[in-house]
């Protein structure tokens, strides 16, 4: 009991507010070691890592943005090219159509001209043949009529001047009447 009290008295002198020398010593050692460690080893690496990460993220964002801009540019280019080729195709089609129309018109014109030419030639030929027929008919009609009349009046009119005069006047009359009927027919 007495030793207990003495022990307690000795212990009671220990004030938890007053540090022992060894306590302060080891506390300082602990603090200095950890301060040095964090200051020069951990925190620089930490800061570097954060900085590099920020940089990397920003760099990649910028790269992505650049890539996106390039893609947009290319898309616009392609669209423009498409637009151009579409317009070109349309104009070519238009030109072809116009040309086709022109060719058709030309061909029609040529055909018309050809037809007209053929018609004209045919008409001229018919006229010529009619003239020829007329001439030969006129020549034959004279002899035929004289032959006929000679046989009617008696075979003496062949070389007679009177007879040939009668025939000529008859023919002239015939011709003039023919002309008159033709003018009426027109």
């Amino acid at each position: 009991m007495i030793t207990n009290i003495v022990l307690a008295a000795a212990e009671a002198t220990k004030n938890p507010l007053l540090p022992e020398n060894y306590d302060l010593f080891w506390s300082s050692v602990v603090f200095v070691i950890l301060l040095t460690f964090f200051w020069f080893k951990v925190l620089p690496g930490f800061k570097k890592t954060l900085d590099e990460r920020t940089e990397a993220i920003e760099g990649r964002l910028a790269a992505a943005e650049r890539a996106q801009a390039q893609v947009a540019e290319k898309t616009a280019e392609i669209e423009k090219a498409q637009e151009n080729s579409r317009a070109e195709a349309a104009s070519i089609r238009e030109a072809a159509r116009a040309e086709g129309v022109a060719i058709l018109a030309e061909l029609k014109e040529q055909a018309n001209q050809e037809a007209a030419r053929i018609t004209a030639t045919a008409k001229a030929q018919i006229e010529a043949e009619r003239q020829a027929a007329l001439v030969s008919l006129r020549a034959e009609v004279g002899t035929l009529a004289i032959d006929l009349a000679s046989q009617v009046v008696g075979a003496s009119l062949k070389n007679d001047k009177v007879a040939s005069g009668v025939v000529d006047s008859f023919l002239a009359e015939l011709e003039s009447s023919e002309k008159a009927s033709k003018g009426k027919g027109k």
């Binding site: 009991m1 207990n4 009290i5 022990l7 307690a8 212990e11 009671a12 220990k14 938890p16 507010l17 007053l18 540090p19 022992e20 020398n21 060894y22 306590d23 302060l24 010593f25 080891w26 506390s27 300082s28 602990v30 603090f31 070691i33 950890l34 301060l35 460690f37 964090f38 200051w39 080893k41 951990v42 925190l43 690496g45 930490f46 800061k47 570097k48 890592t49 954060l50 590099e52 990460r53 990397a56 993220i57």
Partner: protein, 273 residues
């Protein structure tokens, strides 16, 4: 008084009541020299080793990430980053801004992890006592904070800092002497003293509470008779709850110590009191 009562009670019941003795375990080596080692000093050195190993590994991850240009942190690296970033963003940058926050970050980081690491041994089985429960370390840390906030003020304002700190503007001349004494006391004496005392006393109280709960549990289970054994369950439950509470206190005290240091530095840098 408590000591006498407890030691007299101890002899017959076997109940080990907590006492201030707890914080002065026997010296193991170098007895009588300024670098004597006891259990608590050893615990501190182990905590230092643990902190260095842990953050060395984190630091290696940083280096590796930097060398390989891999900017996606792994799980372990991320944990380290979250811990370091807590001090950096939530305490330093928030109070001091980016520039000054980074300036004082080494001290703040050291204080936070030292206090937390030393506090947490209070609830780690086998250690069972906080490295900060003996006042030496809190005094050293408070001194570091003290020197730093005075350095910050003097560096920023020159010798005028002491006037700014003790003579606030806009106080009627009649009150100035009184205000001066109060400011002098609170800034240059109470700040470091409260920093150290708050931490130590929290750890001492926490440890005593846990010892009380668990030694009572031991007593009820193995020395008490009959129905009294049931009390042991209650004291054990209390001990369990207080252990969780101590975990919170360990973090909270680290946070408070670091935050107050930061605030003191910030006040020193402020242009007006």
């Amino acid at each position: 008084m408590l000591v006498t009562a407890s030691s007299s009670g101890e002899s017959d019941s076997g109940f080990h009541a907590p006492s201030i003795d707890e914080f002065y375990p026997e010296i193991i080596a170098f007895d009588g020299t300024p670098f004597a080692l006891n259990r608590i000093m050893l615990i501190r050195l182990i905590v230092v080793a643990a902190l260095i190993i842990l953050f060395w590994l984190v630091s290696n991850k940083f280096k590796k990430a930097s060398v390989t240009q891999n900017f996606v942190p792994g799980r372990f690296q991320l944990m380290g980053e979250i811990a370091l970033n807590f001090v950096r963003s939530n305490i330093a940058h928030e109070q001091l801004g980016k520039k000054d926050g980074d300036r004082f970050l080494p001290l703040l980081t050291t204080i936070f992890f030292t206090v937390f690491g030393m506090n947490i041994t209070g609830i780690i089985p086998g250690f069972n006592i906080a490295g900060t429960s003996v006042i030496g370390l809190p005094i050293v840390l408070a001194l570091a904070a003290y020197v730093t906030f005075i350095y910050a003020g003097v560096k920023h304002h020159g010798i005028k800092f002491f006037k700014i700190a003790t003579v606030p503007s806009g106080v009627p001349a009649a009150f100035l002497p009184l205000v001066f004494v109060i400011e002098l006391l609170s800034t240059f004496i109470l700040r470091p003293v409260t920093l150290a005392l708050r931490l130590t006393m929290n750890m001492i109280a926490g440890h005593l509470l846990l010892v009380l709960c668990f030694s009572a549990t031991w007593f009820f289970f193995f020395s008490a008779d009959g129905w009294f054994k049931l009390f042991g369950a209650g004291t054990f439950l209390f001990g369990f709850v207080f252990t969780l509470f101590e975990l919170l206190v360990a973090f909270l005290q680290a946070y408070v110590f670091t935050l107050l240091t930061t605030v003191y530095i910030q006040l020193s840098l402020a242009d007006d009191h």
